[in-house]
Amino acid sequence: MPQRRDLIASAIVVLLLALLPLAGSRYAIDLTTEVMIYALFALSLNVLIGFTGNISFGHAAYFAIGGYACAILLTTYGWPLALALPAAVVLAGLVAAVVGYFCVRLTQIYFAMLTLAFAMLVWGVAFKWKEVTGGDDGFTGIKMPEIIAHHVGYFYFTLVVVAAGIAALWVICHSAFGLTLVAIRENSVRAGFIGVDTRHMRWAAFTVAGTFGGLAGALFGMYHRGMYIENAFWTESANVLIMVLLGGIYSFIGPIIGAAVLHLLQTFTNQYTPYWPTVLGLILLVIVMVLPDGLIGLVRRVRARGGRP
């Protein structure tokens, strides 16, 4: 049964990650922490893209709301993490629910642009509400609970939260709910005629995506000890969108791969040349021209070839 195999594979990955700090490289720990956060972020977006077929150009909004809310609650209000984090995630989910209510009335590019508009509004609020968010100076100096203030502690914390988040998303995506979303993506008129309230379902998906995006954002803010309005800007939404597309939208783990590859690529390229746009551009071209289903398509093809007796 493939399901069990997937389960074992995931367990091994988590275990290997858990052993990483033993290798002793501070840099590897930091980088892996970042990749895990982006993986969750990308995966949350794919609930929308891969499962309802709606592209969001504004997913950074929920990321930023989660990040800012957690940062502000921890620092300005001195809440304990156990309260601040859930509250931030719920807030992101709530905002996603409100925004989603309007967005799911539209489809395709109109949907995308409306999500963009709302996200830019969130950006505007973060920008202008200087007393609370620090405006474009950013909100720095986040207070962190002792246990996770150290980078190793934070790594394990992220590992646990991200693994739980991914597991939850896995269950949701493979549930009856997830399958019905796919049907809506494929043909929403038809889905209406089998008795599915397509708008409500897409609304729910939007909210789920926003909620988990908020979780990723909260982790991100604490990792950097700062949130910045750039985190809510459309370029950030574009970045995570590229991660998802790069990995491949029609598979669960595609976005995880995309997030890891893109982030590492950007990080490493930047170490060698300021011409990273060219490098990234060329890589994207290759992927687009010869890897139709994103990186996951490549993985599958290689696996199919290797798996054949």
Partner: protein, 367 residues
């Protein structure tokens, strides 16, 4: 001869910020070359690790951490945007590595967010605002229109000006304050308002492309005929004068860090000639000096501390005076702010040049 000393530096090298990041990096590289030619720091070679901050504070934060944890740099320099400067200040605090802010002007770096390891060798918005207030007073402006870009730098500069006005320009009254957005290219909503307000002078923080776009859109209406334009944001630099050439308007008084034609100070002359050779142009950009000074401060501090240990280097930087292309600078031991000044003066036509030059240029250095 020990292992090389590693200096990490972040400037925006792609996108909109590259206009300033790229020339600053040139100055930075020049300083490194000079140091190595002279045998390095404490006899150790100097290695420069240069990264693009993409004008994004989160990227800057990750990249700076990477420089510290992976590349084990001894000190970090650079930044351009205020938010990037603040993000780097935060990392420097966590990682206990010295950070010298070479361009960001946000006052917070040397006030609220000040900590042991952060220093600034660029001007800050209070200094700039003070200079503008002085000029407003000197030019006897009575009714002032105030233009700032609506973001951190603009707001901080506004605060700096308002703080200094009562002292230096007590008779001036601000009759209109307008704040176009950062990155604005179309100033049509603002130009008529300023023209209708009847002010005799404008205090402006519109820098670089903002200033150029304003000029292009306002000049056809005769805007600069009547109104004196006192501007921060270094629009008195050659990169703007040389580009606008004949279109550079009358009545502008502004600032710049460095003047390629100043030449009366020997250290400046030497610096400028080297830079001119490196860039293969007589008219050099001002930002190079900032990159250069940052490196020189780092080197001097390490030499003084005889160590690269951040604590010792930080201590050495406090109160440290060095000679630079813009004269002798001292870092205040308390505020960690260098007393770097700027050249201020009117931009005038020259019969033998296609572009305007600042004349007379007055070097205003904070006390």
């Amino acid at each position: 001869q020990g292992a090389p000393i590693k200096i990490g530096v972040l400037y925006p090298l792609t996108g909109g910020g590259a206009v300033y990041g790229a020339p600053a990096l040139v100055g930075h590289q020049m300083a490194i070359e000079e140091l190595n030619a002279k045998g390095g720091i404490m006899g150790r070679k100097v290695e420069s690790l240069e990264r693009d901050d993409k004008l994004n504070p989160a990227t800057a934060s990750s990249t700076m951490k990477e420089l510290i944890t992976k590349d084990k740099v001894d000190i970090v320099l650079g930044g351009l945007a205020s938010s990037v400067g603040l993000a780097m200040t935060e990392v420097s605090k966590q990682e206990k590595v010295v950070y010298i802010s070479t361009i960001p002007k946000s006052i917070q770096i040397t006030t609220d967010k000040l900590h042991k390891y952060v220093f600034r060798t660029s001007a800050n918005t209070d200094q700039e605002g003070e200079a503008m207030a002085i000029l407003a007073g000197k030019n006897k402006l009575a009714k002032i229109c105030h233009l700032e870009l609506d973001y951190a730098y603009g707001n901080d500069l506004e605060a700096g000006i308002l703080k200094a006005m009562p002292k230096y320009a007590p008779d001036a009254k601000i009759v209109l304050t307008l704040k176009p957005k950062l990155g604005a290219t179309d100033f049509n909503p603002f130009i008529p308002q300023v023209m209708a307000a009847g002010c005799d002078g404008v205090l402006s923080g519109l820098w670089g492309p903002h200033f150029v776009s304003w000029v292009k859109q306002a000049a056809p209406l005769g805007f600069f005929n009547k109104i004196k334009w006192i501007s921060g944001g270094e629009v008195g630099s050659h990169e703007i004068a040389g580009e606008l050439k004949g279109e550079y308007p009358d009545n502008v008084i502004s600032n710049t860090y460095e003047l390629w034609y100043k030449g009366n100070d020997p250290s400046h002359k030497e610096f400028q000639e080297k830079l001119a050779k490196k860039l293969n142009t007589q008219e050099t950009p001002q930002w190079a000096a900032l990159g250069y000074i940052g490196v020189m401060y780092a080197a001097a501090a390490m030499e003084k501390a005889k160590s690269t240990d951040p604590d010792k280097v930080a201590e050495a930087l406090e109160g440290l005076s060095i000679g630079t292309p813009v004269g002798t600078l001292t870092i205040d031991a308390k505020t960690h702010q260098a007393n770097i000044g700027q050249f201020w003066g009117p931009m005038v036509k020259k019969p033998d040049r296609a572009y305007r030059m600042m004349e007379p240029a007055e070097y205003i250095q904070p006390k």
